[in-house]
């Protein structure tokens, strides 16, 4: 059960090797989390992530989970929920793709969309149903500011996050009053493996800062969290810029 500060005792991470997810899991294990499920494609990275959390004192399990195989989600996640209540699901899987390459390779572009959007729709719905049945829990979804307005530089990724963001907001409304809390997290540029080698954007942040913001969002039962918080104002200004002006900004 979550405590008065929204801190979970059990945590399920979808995308168990995500750096933001692991920073969050580390933080939550130090607080209250005793049971952690890391779901992802089986890999040495997943196992070492599990070992790292075990060293912090958590009871860590791993589960094979593939975002690109939505047919399996019901079974995989069903097994996890059958082991006991999950207080928080962190939907953290996603890929950035390579915009320039993917524009020439539609199959690769579709893979970005399938991972980030359709895979998340399936996993999100399955998790939401399980959380609703237990009458409590938080579903935390990692979206991105890239979904807020289409940018020339990453609109394939951005469009997938836009879909995910809208889906999550709607799911939050659908689950309002069911005891389940849905929170969408919109980080800006996060310094991590995913963005290694890319030019850093203004207001860049770190996985640890995102984890801190998630903890605060849990305590406040927020529905949306921007990291850093200033991005909320920045994006709401950018959203209203005329197309012609926005194009020239070369963001």
């Amino acid at each position: 059960m979550k405590d008065a500060f929204g801190l979970p005792q059990s945590l399920l991470v979808l995308g168990g090797t995500s750096e933001i997810a692991l920073a969050t899991a580390r933080r939550l294990v130090v607080r209250r989390a005793r049971t952690v499920w890391l779901a992802g494609r089986p890999s040495p990275a997943l196992e070492s992530a599990a070992a790292e959390l075990r060293a912090l004192g958590a009871d860590v399990h791993t589960a094979a989970f593939d975002a690109l195989d939505p047919e399996s989600h019901e079974t995989v996640l069903g097994k996890i929920f059958a082991q006991g209540d999950i207080d928080m699901v962190l939907l953290a899987f996603g890929i950035l793709g390579d915009q320039a390459h993917d524009e020439r390779d539609p199959v690769a572009a579709v893979r970005v969309a399938q991972t980030n959007y359709t895979g998340a729709v399936s996993a999100g719905l399955v998790s939401a149903r399980a959380l609703q049945a237990q009458g409590h829990g938080s579903l935390v979804v990692l979206s991105s500011v890239a979904g807020e307005r289409a940018r020339r530089a990453n609109f394939i990724y951005g469009s997938s996050k836009a879909g995910l963001d809208t889906f999550t907001q709607g799911l939050g409304d659908a689950l309002h009053g069911t005891g389940v809390h849905v929170m969408v997290v919109r980080p800006g540029f996060v310094r991590s493996r995913m963005t290694a080698g890319l030019e850093e954007a203004p207001l860049a942040t770190t996985p640890e800062a995102v984890a801190t913001a998630i903890e605060l969002g849990l305590r406040r039962r927020s529905e949306a969290v921007w990291v850093p918080g200033a991005l909320r104002m920045v994006m709401s200004a950018l959203r209203h810029l005329p197309r012609g002006v926005f194009r020239r900004l070369s963001l």
């Binding site: 008065a4 500060f5 209250r32 409590h136």
Partner: protein, 475 residues
Amino acid sequence: MSADTVPLTGWGRTAPTAARPTRPRSYEEAVAAVRGCGARGGIPRGLGRAYGDAAQNAGGAVFDMTGLDRVHAIDADGGTVLCGAGVSLHRLMEVLLPLGWFVPVTPGTRHVTVGGAIGADVHGKNHHVSGSFSRHVLSFELLTADGEIRTVRRDTPLFDATTGGMGLTGMILTATVQLQPVETSLMSVDTERARDLDDLMARLTATDHAYRYSVAWIDLLARGAATGRAVLTRGNHAPLEALRSSGAPEGGARARRDASGTRARRDPSGTRAHRDPLAFRTPRFPAPPAFFPEGLLNRTTVGLFNELWYRTSPRARTGRLQGIPAFFHPLDGVPHWNRVYGRGGLVQYQFVVGHGHEETLHRIVRRVSGHRCPSFLAVLKRFGDADPGWLSFPVPGWTLAMDLPAGLPGLGALLDEIDDEVAAVGGRVYLAKDSRLRPELLATMYPRLDDFRALRAELDPRGVFTSDLSRRLAL
């Protein structure tokens, strides 16, 4: 889950979870509700005054006990009452005061049910004399997980597991309670100020025994030499002759005018209070709006309030007459007062440390005041002897209770550290108010926890009676 679930929280309005409420109005309906509550079990809920998650059951059933609201029998000579578990202490006062009887123990709110008072084994300002609520319970009927109704008497394991058992042994249906005789519905109250924590504890230790009721309001925002400054209010039930000799109670301008004599001349029988010494009058103020702005309770406003409270309290005043609501339940005058903490809700933290651990109490008070927690009117009380309930909270020593906004930065970590200090000296926190304890500490704080778990495993192997609290703390 179907659409008939509703989100519920405790009085602190933190950690909402959804459950299916049912409101049994008879034994048959209660048995049917328990038998049909489904895989996630159920938990009885009274008036929802427990601060934390004690009366929530995510995804399962919550039995709204206010349907069992009958006062079945009153023995006006022997002073006992047999009533349904859903009867509130407020209702008992309305019914019993005119007969010259008062509830044996009342917590800071009278809007709790008898069943809830037993389940949490509540205590009041008279704990140093009268112990906790369960000491005055002669017997009760308990509907257990197997669907049977048992009559549970004192000095049995089931009695001791149920008093303080947070509703996890079964559903209390009725209870027989021994009452306290009173001549009037007024309190004769002495007030004094203590300049710091040492002064306060010295006064409580020296003269508590002279009063049936005693409590101190501490200013936890005071620092330096004034750390732990407090206002003590202690009193006894006013005897009939006190009404003749003294002024009428506060809270009624008319009554005060009576006392000063202007109307008394026209009315030979004396003051209103004297004409009707057992009247039970309850003032009520408007409730705060449902969406109260967050952050109004901050260091500045609460500090100002505490300062005013301390400064305007008399240094020493004796024999002031006060009504029962004003003395016992000042916050009940404002319905939904918990809304002033805004959407984030509040955390109530109450712990007890035994005699001889005053240094720990000092350290904790210094720590809280050093953290500048905007807690208004924390309450310090000296507990008397413990009662045998396995998970009953009070033990002889010092208990401190404070209301804190849940959104306060760093509060979780601060309370975790205080937990450690409390547990290290054999103290404990109050489960009826808890919403954030770590399960690891529970066995240290409650040494009879294993007995409780064993009894539950035998009585209720499927976990029919389950709450968010029991899940969180693995009770």
